[in-house]
Amino acid sequence: MEYCNCFESPWPADELLMKYQYISDFFIALAYFSIPLELIYFVKKSAVFPYRWVLVQFGAFIVLCGATHLINLWTFTMHTRTVAVVMTTAKVLTAVVSCATALMLVHIIPDLLSVKTRELFLKNKAAELDREMGLIRTQEETGRHVRMLTHEIRSTLDRHTILKTTLVELGRTLGLEECALWMPTRTGLELHLSYTLRHQNPVGLTVPIQLPVINQVFNTSRAVKISPISPVARLRPAGQYMPGEVVAVRVPLLHLSNFQIHDWPELSTKRYALMVLMLPSDSARQWHVHELELVEVVADQVAVALSHAAILEESMRARDLLMEQNVALDLARREAETAVRARNDFLAVMNHEMRTPIHAIIALSSLLQETELSPEQRLMVETILKSSNLLATLINDVLDLSRLEDGSLQLEIGTFNLHSLFREVLNLIRPIAAVKKLSVTLSLSPDLTEHAAGDEKRLMQVLLNVVGNAIKFTKEGGISVSAFVANSDSLRDPRAPDFFPTHSDNHFYLRVEVKDTGSGINPQDIPKLFMKFVQSQPLATKNSGGSGLGLAICKRFVNLMEGHIWIESEGLGRGSTVIFIVKLGIPARLNDSKLPFLHKGPGNKVKLNFSGLKVVVMDDNSVGRMVTKGLLVHLGCDVLAVASGDECVRAVSYEHKVVFLDVSMAAVDSFEVAVRIREKFSKRSDRPFIVALTGNTDRMIKESCRKVGMDGVILKPVSVDKMRSVVSDLLEHGYLVESQ
């Protein structure tokens, strides 16, 4: 055994201490060996670890330390030199590795630390982004709310709903405690609390409009934070709580009068309403910028919606007014109708009832005149006769005039003999003229045609009236009547600047002058002559017997004939001339629509040659049957109407020229009827034409009709003209030229 180089322990080997050291070293070694194992295990587990090399180093370091301690175990007792050598090697290696590791750590630890800071930085950034995301989301929410609010507000045109909805939606969106709207009163000097969110029925609170806080809000279009104790924000009885923040914004109220046709509303003349919004009192919430923006946007939208509502209200008011006016007009029209009816009834009564007794009086008086009478009696009877004649004339004249006045009188145009008209009139007055020893002359111009077209009766009336007047007012001398065709010079009367006669080929203007040597007329009185009920010489009426209406009626008639009448006189005692011009038609070139009296048939219908034409109409619908029958009767046919197919086949004979079958009948097969009719007549010439009447525009119907041998198809509804052309086509050509 060699001597070991260990020292002699100064004290006797304490077995206990040795033992403890032994055990500790053992555990240290164990730990030192297990740590790297753990490290390796976990590093293997983790995917990312940038510092493997460091780990290896560290592992080596630990292993070696462990080894050192392990080997130390052997050095407690006597040990060989090999153990000492191994121990030394281990220690040396451990020293090397640990120094290397120490050096390496110097390099790495700052890196590791910076990783930590970067991590912290990233966490902060993430938190910030989160915050911003939250903000954006809130804003987007707000935007959505604004859109929804706007939609709600603009979806109705009722003012009240608009304002109420605004408050409700705003309250909901922003989570408001209270929201109120102050509207300006009519006078514009106060604001009146009109709508609130929580209170159902706001008490009539008003504040004067000139408060500084209100002015401040009205002067800007932005939402303004106001003090919770200002009068507009004191909406509730004062409570013990601390009120939340209050914001107010103006809402422009646009009036219809602001919208002139060419101007846009002036900003300076606006009225505003005030919207006040209060945050919940017990929260620490503050008004955010985006919330204020929301409020401003909403206020604008409300303004627009209100203006629309105002426009709608206005138009509805206008419409109501129109309806009222319509009702009033309707009433007026009905009144007018009633009045017309009353007037017509009156006229009818007058016409019949009054004429009858007067005729009786006149007739009986005339008869009386022819009996034996004493001179006084004769005089009396003559007066009676004259008076009743006067009355009869008066009634006629009034009737005529009233009809003339309302323009309902229409001329009855016909062709007549112009020359004989003049002769007749003069023949009528010749006896009277003879009695008064007055001469009567008539001169008709040679270029005056014999015949003319116009209202013969009325022309005669005018002439008679004028000539009669001439006779009436002439005591001696005579009257002369001259008639000629007026040329353009003589047409224009300087006294009647409105009279513009127009020339045409169909018409000519007849000018008649009636000259008398009578009492004449004061030129000043001339205009009055043609007025109703005015006599120039009231004292002379006793003898003249005129009703005062004569000339007025003449004037009306002449005007109706598109002419003109006037009087010329040189003064009292110098006689007078009545001149009138009327428009007459030239009969040779008249339209056929104004046919002369010769062709007096039912209306103006030209009947061709199927009057009395025998036809059969088959229709199971009584109304349709009657209508078709009426149509054909109107055209002059002799119609046999039947309701069933059997009846039709039975009734048809060779005398009937056309059979009309209604094809829309449900019960009867009209085609079968057509076939049976064809079979009934062997000879083609005996068979009547068969025509189908249908309301169905289907092409198939036409084909089917043609197949069974019908001669034509007419589409209902049938007009008179269509029926006429159909029948004439059939009779002329034997088939329908156009199967309509």
């Binding site: 016409n351 323009g407 309301g695 007009s719």
Partner: protein, 153 residues
């Protein structure tokens, strides 16, 4: 207070043709009715009235018939269709546009066998029918006035 001498007969005539136009525009009547008026002449002075009267007696009968048919089950749609076809024919003959339209609708419902639709539509038909009757009565009154006035001349 209207001066009765200044309001003319022509007003009434104008009113009459205006009423006519109103009815036409309201869709109650169509051109066929005007055609009927054209058929009125000295031979047939009351043609329109007679046709209208006939229409109403006829249609009342048809309506009653439809009511009876609707009460019976099972519902006989074919029969309803047939009756309504008649009704439609009459209506188009006098130019009752609206009534005709409702009849067509009714027939549509019959074709698909929709009983509820038929019932509903039948009410419409009756309503239009009654409305037209009122209008025609009104119209004839005005017409009568014009007649009287014309005769008074």
């Amino acid at each position: 207070m209207i001066n009765i001498f200044s309001v003319g007969l022509s007003t009434t005539q104008r009113i009459e043709s205006q009423e006519k136009r109103i009815y036409l525009f309201q869709g109650y009547l169509d051109e066929q009715f005007l055609q009927l008026e054209d058929l009125q002449d000295e031979v047939n002075p009351n043609f329109v009235e007679e046709v209208v009267k006939l229409f109403y007696t006829d249609s009342v009968r048809l309506i009653r018939s439809i009511e009876l048919t609707l009460e019976n089950t099972p519902w006989d749609f074919e029969k309803l269709d047939k009756i309504m076809h008649q009704f439609k024919g009459s209506s188009s003959s006098i130019g009752a546009k609206r009534v005709k339209k409702e009849c067509t609708q009714f027939q549509e419902y019959c074709k698909v066998g929709n009983f509820d639709g038929c019932m509903r539509e039948f009410q419409e038909v009756k309503q239009e029918h009654a409305a037209l009757k009122r209008k025609l009565e009104n119209y004839f009154q005005v017409f009568l006035v014009v007649h009287l006035a014309r005769e008074a001349r």
